[in-house]
C-alpha cells in the first residue's frame, strides 16, 4: 500500500474529488450550523451525551451483560467476538448454517472495520449492499470514503456514468430522481430475495435488548425484516442503558451528521419474529465485537469510545476537506479516524495520521459528545515519539531546538545568528527559497527577519 503522503498528493491533484467533497461537506456544515442554532440548549445536550457515554464506558461489562440477558429473553442469540477475524468467522458461520447464498447488507462501518465484505466474498456468499451510497461503492469496487456518505468522493455526474455502465436498466433522464429509480429497480428485487440480512447498530439498548438502526433510505428495514435471518454486528461501545438514554444521543447524532432533526427511519429491533407477528426474521443474531475497544479504554483512549459516528469532525476538518477520506488509508477517516486507525491497524502503519493535523481544535468544537480529539491526537504523537517511530530528522531537530532553548545565553547567540543569516537570504523583505525550508518556500514566500532580535533591540534600548 502506498504511503499517506502519496495518497494525499494524489487526492490534492484531483479537482473532481475536491468538488465532490466540498459539495457534501459544505452542505453538511451549513445545515448542521442551522440545526445547532435552532436547538434549545445544544451545549447542555452535549454535556449530557458525553456523560451518558462515559458512564456506560466505565461500566461496560455491567451493561453488556444486561443487554445480553435481555436480548436472549427477547429471543435473540448473542455472540461475543474479541477480534475482527473472530467476528467474521461467527457471521460466516451463521450464514452457512442458514444455507445463505446471498446476504443483504445495511451500511455498517463496523462491518467495514472487521472486513466483512471481504470475508463474505471469500466464503462465496453474494453480497447486496442496500444503502444507496454503499451500492455505488460496490459497483465501483471501492471502499467508503466517509462514515455517513460512503460515496462522498464521487460527484453525481460520476455516479450517473457508473449506473449507466453497470445497471441492467439504467436511467434515461439525467436527474437525481431518475438515478435513484434506477438503483431501486436494480436493488429491490434482489434485496427481497436475500437469505440473510446483515446490519450494524447505532445503539444497543441494555434494558430491552433492542438494537437501533438509523437510515434515511429505509433500506435497513427492507433488508432486515424479510430475510429469514437477521445478523447484527456491533461494537461493544454502542451500548446505552435504556431508550431514555438513546433518545438524547439520537437527537445529537442526526443534527451533527446532516443537520436534520431526525433520520427518516429510526428503528428498534427487539428479538426475532414473535408468535402472532406478521413479519420479521425467524432468527436474530447479535455479534458483540471488541476488536481493540477494551484495550483502547485501558490505554488512554476511553474518550474515543464516546464516538457516535456522526462524521461532524471530518466535515469540519480543513485537512479532510482537502484530501477526502481515502487518503487516510483506514476504515475511518478524518480526525476520529486519525485517532482510531492507529489503535485498529497499528501505529507503525499509520503514524502520519495523528501528525497530519493542524491541531486547530475545530473537530472538538463540533463533536456532539465532546471528544477531545486534539488531545488524543497529541497522545498518539507522544507514543510515536516514545516508541522511536518518528524520523531521525524530527528527533534531532526538536531535540537540538529544545536544548538551545533551555540555555538563554546560547539561545540569544543562535537567534542573532539566525536573524542575520536569514536576512542575507532575503530580497526586498522576502525569501523565495529557503535551504532546508523547502516545505515552506515551495508554496509561499518567507518574510525575512526585521533585523536584530527583539531581545537584542530591547536590551540596547534599555541601556539608553
Amino acid at each position: 500500500m502506498t504511503g499517506f503522503k502519496t495518497r494525499a498528493d494524489a487526492a490534492l491533484a484531483d479537482p473532481v474529488l475536491k468538488l465532490a467533497v466540498e459539495r457534501t461537506a459544505g452542505t453538511a456544515e451549513a445545515k448542521r450550523a442551522l440545526a445547532v442554532e435552532a436547538f434549545p440548549d445544544f451545549e447542555r445536550a452535549r454535556d449530557r451525551a458525553a456523560a451518558i457515554k462515559d458512564h456506560v464506558i466505565t461500566h461496560l461489562g455491567h451493561y453488556l451483560e444486561r443487554f445480553e440477558a435481555n436480548a436472549i429473553a427477547a429471543g435473540a442469540q448473542v455472540h461475543w467476538a474479541r477480534t475482527a477475524d473472530e467476528a467474521c468467522r461467527i457471521v460466516i458461520g451463521i450464514c452457512k448454517a442458514a444455507g445463505a447464498r446471498t446476504v443483504a447488507r445495511s451500511k455498517s462501518m463496523l462491518g467495514e472495520e472487521i472486513g466483512l465484505p471481504h470475508a463474505l466474498a471469500e466464503a462465496g456468499i453474494g453480497r447486496i449492499e442496500t444503502d444507496l451510497a454503499e451500492h455505488i461503492i460496490q459497483l465501483a469496487d471501492e471502499r467508503p470514503s466517509h462514515i455517513i456518505w460512503p460515496a462522498m468522493h464521487k460527484t453525481r455526474e460520476q455516479v450517473s456514468a457508473l449506473f449507466r455502465a453497470k445497471h441492467r436498466a439504467p436511467h434515461e433522464e439525467e436527474s437525481i430522481a431518475a438515478m435513484a429509480e434506477s438503483a431501486r429497480r436494480e436493488l429491490r428485487s434482489r434485496m427481497l430475495g436475500a437469505d440473510v440480512g446483515i446490519s450494524g447498530a447505532n445503539f444497543l439498548i441494555a434494558d430491552t435488548g433492542a438494537v437501533c438502526t438509523v437510515t434515511n433510505e429505509g433500506n435497513a428495514e427492507l433488508s432486515l425484516v424479510p430475510p429469514r435471518v437477521h445478523v447484527v454486528t456491533a461494537g461493544i461501545e454502542k451500548i446505552v442503558p435504556s431508550m431514555g438514554h438513546a433518545i438524547p444521543l439520537l437527537r445529537l447524532l442526526a443534527r451533527s451528521a446532516t443537520g436534520a432533526a431526525l433520520t427518516q427511519y429510526t428503528t428498534f429491533y427487539t428479538g426475532p419474529k414473535r408468535p402472532g407477528d406478521r413479519d420479521g426474521p425467524e432468527e436474530m443474531h447479535i455479534v458483540l465485537v471488541d476488536n481493540g475497544r477494551t484495550a483502547m479504554r485501558e490505554e488512554g483512549l476511553a474518550e474515543m469510545l464516546r464516538c457516535i459516528r456522526c462524521g461532524a469532525c471530518m466535515n469540519h476538518c480543513v485537512v479532510f476537506r482537502q484530501i477526502g477520506g481515502h487518503a487516510y488509508g483506514g476504515t475511518y477517516p478524518g480526525p476520529m479516524g486519525a485517532v482510531l486507525t492507529p489503535a485498529l491497524d497499528g501505529l507503525e502503519r499509520s503514524r502520519d495520521l495523528p501528525h497530519a493535523c493542524t491541531l486547530n481544535g475545530k473537530c472538538q468544537e463540533v463533536c456532539p459528545v465532546r471528544i477531545p480529539l486534539p488531545t488524543l491526537l497529541r497522545g498518539w504523537r507522544e507514543r510515536s515519539w516514545r516508541e522511536g517511530l518518528e524520523p531521525v530528522s524530527a528527533r534531532w531537530g526538536v531535540g537540538l531546538w529544545a536544548s538551545i532553548a533551555r540555555r538563554p545565553r546560547l539561545y540569544r547567540v543562535v537567534a542573532a545568528l539566525a536573524a542575520g543569516s536569514l536576512r542575507l537570504l532575503g530580497n526586498r523583505g522576502w525569501i523565495a527559497r529557503l535551504p532546508l525550508g523547502g516545505g515552506w518556500t515551495r508554496h509561499r514566500d518567507m518574510p525575512r527577519p526585521e533585523g536584530r532580535t527583539f531581545m537584542a533591540q530591547y536590551r540596547k534600548e534599555k541601556r539608553r
Binding site: 484530501i323 497530519a356 531546538w401 537567534a415 527577519p449
Partner: protein, 256 residues
C-alpha cells in the same frame, strides 16, 4: 478594576517567533500595555514556551521547557503574550504536561492562571481602549485557532480595533477556519498546508481589504507568505501593531 496600586506588574513573553522575525510586535505590545497603565517587564531568561516539542510528541523536552519557562515567568501579576497559541500552551497545556509532578503542578497552575493573550488582557483585564491610534485602511481579521478555541479570543481584538481611528473592518468569510499553518504541520505536510492556505488567501482577496490582521505571527507569516507568492498587494500586520498606533510601519515582509 479600581485598584489603588499604581500599576499592574506585567511580564511580557514575546515568543520565539516575534523575537526572531518581527520584534515590532514586541515593542507594540509594550507600548499598548504601558498605555493601559501597566508596568512592563521583559524577563531576561525567556526563550521558547516549548510548543514545538509538545506538538511533536516530545513530552520530556516539552516538560523541561515548561519548567524553565515557569521559573522565568513566576512572580508577576500577569504574563502577557502577543500570541494565542503560545498563551494557550502555557495556560492550557503546562498544567497537563506537569500533571504528575507534585512540585511543579501548583507552580504551573499559578503561572497558567495569570497568563493572557495580549488583546484579551487589554480588553478584559485592563478595560482599555486605544485612544490615539490611527490607521487609514480597510482591514479584515483572521481568528487564529488556538487563541479562539483554547482562550476564547474573538470579540476582544475586534473591540480594540474598532477604536483605531480610520480603520474599517470587513468580516472574512471562514474567519474561524484554520489557515493551514499548524506549526511544524506546514513543513511536514506542505502540499496539504498549501491547499488550505490557498483557500484562505482567496477568501482574504475576496474581501477587497488592503490589510490582513491576526493575533499570531505564525499564521500571519503563512497567510502573508502565500498572498505575496500569489502577487497580492494585501499587507499583513499583527493586530496589536495597529492597536498600539504602529500601523504606519512596514507590514510583514516589507523592509523598514
Amino acid at each position: 478594576m479600581s485598584k489603588s496600586v499604581p500599576s499592574r506588574r506585567v511580564a511580557l513573553f514575546v515568543t520565539c517567533l516575534v523575537d526572531l522575525m518581527r520584534p515590532r510586535i514586541g515593542f507594540a505590545a509594550i507600548r499598548a500595555l504601558e498605555a493601559a497603565g501597566c508596568e512592563v517587564i521583559v524577563p531576561e531568561g525567556q526563550t521558547c514556551c516549548g510548543q514545538p516539542a509538545l506538538n511533536s510528541g516530545d513530552r520530556d523536552h516539552a516538560a523541561a521547557l515548561a519548567r524553565r519557562t515557569i521559573e522565568v515567568l513566576e512572580g508577576y501579576d500577569h504574563i502577557v503574550i502577543p500570541s494565542g497559541s503560545c498563551a494557550g500552551t502555557i495556560r492550557c497545556h503546562y498544567p497537563e504536561i506537569l500533571a504528575d509532578d507534585a512540585h511543579w503542578l501548583p507552580r504551573a497552575q499559578a503561572v497558567a492562571e495569570r497568563t493572557w493573550e495580549i488583546m484579551a488582557f487589554l480588553d478584559e483585564v485592563c478595560g482599555w481602549r486605544p485612544e490615539a491610534a490611527r490607521c487609514e485602511g480597510h482591514a479584515t481579521y483572521h481568528d487564529s485557532c488556538s487563541g479562539l478555541r483554547e482562550l476564547g479570543v474573538k470579540a476582544q481584538p475586534r473591540r480594540l480595533l474598532k477604536a483605531v481611528e480610520g480603520l474599517t473592518l470587513t468580516p472574512l468569510a471562514g474567519e474561524e477556519t484554520c489557515c493551514g499553518f499548524g506549526g511544524t504541520f506546514c513543513v511536514k505536510y506542505p502540499a496539504i498546508s498549501n491547499a488550505i492556505v490557498a483557500e484562505k488567501a482567496a477568501a482574504i482577496a475576496a474581501t477587497g481589504a488592503g490589510l490582513l490582521l491576526a493575533g499570531d505571527l505564525g499564521c500571519l507569516m503563512n497567510m502573508a507568505g502565500k498572498l505575496h507568492r500569489d502577487g497580492s498587494k494585501v499587507r499583513a500586520f499583527h493586530a496589536i501593531e495597529l492597536i498600539a498606533g504602529m500601523g504606519d510601519g512596514p507590514a510583514i515582509g516589507e523592509d523598514a
